[in-house]
Amino acid sequence: MARIAGVNIPTNKRVQISLRYIYGIGPKNAVEICEKLGIPDDRRVNQLTDEEVLRIRELIDREYRVEGDLRREVAMNIKRLMDMACYRGLRHRRGLPVRGQRTHTNARTRKGKAVAIAGKKKVTK
């Protein structure tokens, strides 16, 4: 059980893999961290010494923006767009795709689950 950067408790996976459970650390950053601290690829989290865990924690604190801070930053960026009333902000407000994707069909990730249109005629023979 290792607690790194707040609430994250990755378990008996390889360090590179389990670090990715932290919001803001993906494949690239995870590998980078291991390289910087000289932790071999096949080391598992439960094989880390306390000192190594501490070093990982410090490194992340110092050089990476993760979890709450990162989430706040993203939220602030979106809020800035919305407050400016620019096109991207408007799309965020309406919950539609922001980057010019089609909305005639698809776009379900942004729009959420499809809602049936009341009173629409069924195609029958």
Binding site: C86, L90, A118
Partner: protein, 92 residues
Amino acid sequence: MPRSVWKGPFVDGFLLNKAEAARASTRNEIIKIWSRRSTILPQFVGLTFGVYNGKKFIPVQVSENMVGHKFGEFSPTRTFTGHSSDKKAKRG
């Protein structure tokens, strides 16, 4: 892909003159522009532009946040009034 830095921001040249003229004449007048493609520069902050959307000039008060965006982003070209919801009532 973003624009190469070495090119600098894209701005239609005449906007600079217009902005300067507006600065000089202290009256706060709306500067009508059609150049939606121009980047908003720091020297435009505080001025009000009327950005053409194909039909009307949408007044845009330039704030510091807007620097780096394009004028067109602040002047929507499409109107969506929503779908009518009373279809069922009509059929019944």
